[in-house]
Symmetry: C2
Subunit: 329 residues, 2 copies
């Protein structure tokens, strides 16, 4: 770009006190109002962080190195920046903002870094785990809308670790997907499958995020859980998990994902269910009634919440494409 | 760690409104008071950023991908996170905080990502550039303290691009360092060397940072400059640059580094200087009087500035090891 076209005041002699307004000014050449707002808040908070801590050059360099190592350890099957976001509580926060839940609907929680797009499609009753060391578990669930009407044809992604607490992608010698599947809810909104009892496990802690947790004296464990993701046109995308009650880490999840309404008690399969689902009597049983919310309900609630929250913060905004931007009128 | 040892309240049912205090609470197990303070401010700003923008999941994921790509493009000779910090004004800000300058001393500026530790030691009068296409430049400088006393034995790192605007490390086929050297000031605090006239150049813009600048309609250019770094026991480490006056990018440096006191006019070598320094009469000449500040002066000024700035922000802090931490007494 021809520098003579830059419509900003001379950027020279920038100081602790005027650098922020000038960076915001030059970034405001961007004509995407939402991006401009996000960048403005990002630069403001980044600079205020440095000013409030009086960040030293050595600390800044330690941060540069930490972020570089975090990026460099990422692979197709490892996402250390999501882990970082998880342990800093950002992931839970963003899910809460983006997918607000009205009363009597299933709450969401963190996605985590282990969802993949290679899970095999399975039929009801199939076994999603090839791990013979796991404790067999029958999972029987249904999906309804808030008025209690079953929702059929929902695409459900399900994933869990093996009995050693590792996802398939964490095994260097894996030959294909395991402990994950995709299925569709049937005409009654039901879906059921065989799995293994979830176990607690540490998030990967041999990298930068693990080192950070160690310096903070935080343990890296997540309580036993199974991930679920629900997708159907017209319904808000639901990312959630079910947690087992009385897990040793139930109250100290390293990634802050546990919600009371998502904690379940396992039962056991009685003779009737054993016959119906073709499993041994006494097999562990997990059941849950998921309640999805429509896209329209979620959008309205999200916009309402945004407006209320930003009013409270004293920021004058308008909602465009579902997201707030400054209202300059 | 045994979860029963975790002395925090139950971390469950975390929401938009209580996630921040709980993340700070569990991070407070860290016994390093400074790290705890830095993390507390980091988490607060990160969360406030998400709350004020009502950050969407898709935007969060775009951020995760951006940071991952930024980390992955880094190599031994490319530091994209420093570039990112530079274009967001954070580098200039941190240098200003960490290396405050009293009146009548040389101002600092951004380090940039191209300093290396492989520059050859050179003697006064040596040529630091092997680029025969560059316009020859004689550089004659001296180093004094604030009372005007010459400082000998200062280690000076100097680096600049070649005439095409690239640092040595940006050439895939390079055979060794070029356009950089290390020398020591002599008994009179002087140092001089042959170089080439600096040229304006774009920061690397084929990666994530370049894409960001493009979306913001910002050009990637830095005005013509030469980097200097000064080190001597007892003196504050000075990272600075000299900029050529009337450069087309003098007022719009992509990384906000230009300071009025660091802008120089080039002269030409007269007969006397030509004879003294063994260069042709009429050769371009750059001169500068650098003024270093003692460690003690800088430390006192930094601590004073920290206290004043944080008082103004209403934060009660005490200075420990030169850096603020909350004063809880």
């Amino acid at each position: 770009m021809d520098p003579s076209l830059v419509k900003t005041p001379p950027l020279r002699d920038l100081t602790i006190d005027n650098i922020t307004e000038n960076v915001i000014l030059i970034n405001s050449l961007c004509e995407d109002a939402r991006m401009k707002y996000v960048l403005e808040r990002l630069v403001t908070h980044l600079h205020d962080f440095a000013r409030e801590t009086r960040l030293s050059f050595d600390e800044w360099m330690a941060g540069i190195k930490f972020l570089t190592e975090t990026g460099q350890i990422c692979t197709d099957v490892r996402q250390e920046f999501i882990l970082l976001s998880d342990v800093l509580g950002l992931s839970l926060l963003v899910d809460s903002i983006d997918h607000p839940k009205p009363p009597n609907s299933t709450e969401g929680t963190v996605l985590g870094p282990f969802h993949t797009h290679e899970a095999p499609q399975m039929s009801h009753g199939d076994s999603m785990s090839q791990d013979t060391n796991g404790e067999p578990l029958l999972v029987v669930c249904n999906i309804k809308d808030r008025s209690g009407t079953p929702i059929s044809g929902v695409k459900i992604d399900i994933w869990e670790t093996d009995s050693t607490g590792h996802y398939d992608v964490q095994h260097a010698d894996r030959t294909g997907p395991d402990g994950r599947c995709v299925m569709l809810s049937d005409d009654k909104g039901e879906f059921w499958f065989k799995a293994i009892k979830p176990v607690p496990y540490p998030i990967p802690h041999d990298g930068p995020v693990g080192k950070l947790l160690k310096r903070l004296h935080r343990h890296p464990f997540r309580p036993s859980h199974m991930h679920f993701m629900f997708e159907k046109d017209g319904y808000d995308h639901l990312i959630t998990s079910l947690y087992l009650r009385n897990d040793p880490y139930e109250m100290s999840d390293a990634v802050f994902g546990v919600k009371n309404t998502l904690v379940v008690d396992l039962g056991t399969v009685d003779a009737e269910l054993a016959d119906k689902y073709g499993v041994a009597e006494g097999t562990l049983l997990m059941t849950y009634d998921f309640v999805l919310v429509t896209d329209a309900e979620t959008k309205a609630l999200r916009e309402h919440n945004s407006q209320v929250a930003l009013d409270k913060l004293g920021r004058k905004v308008k909602i465009v494409n579902g997201l707030p931007i400054p209202d300059l009128d």
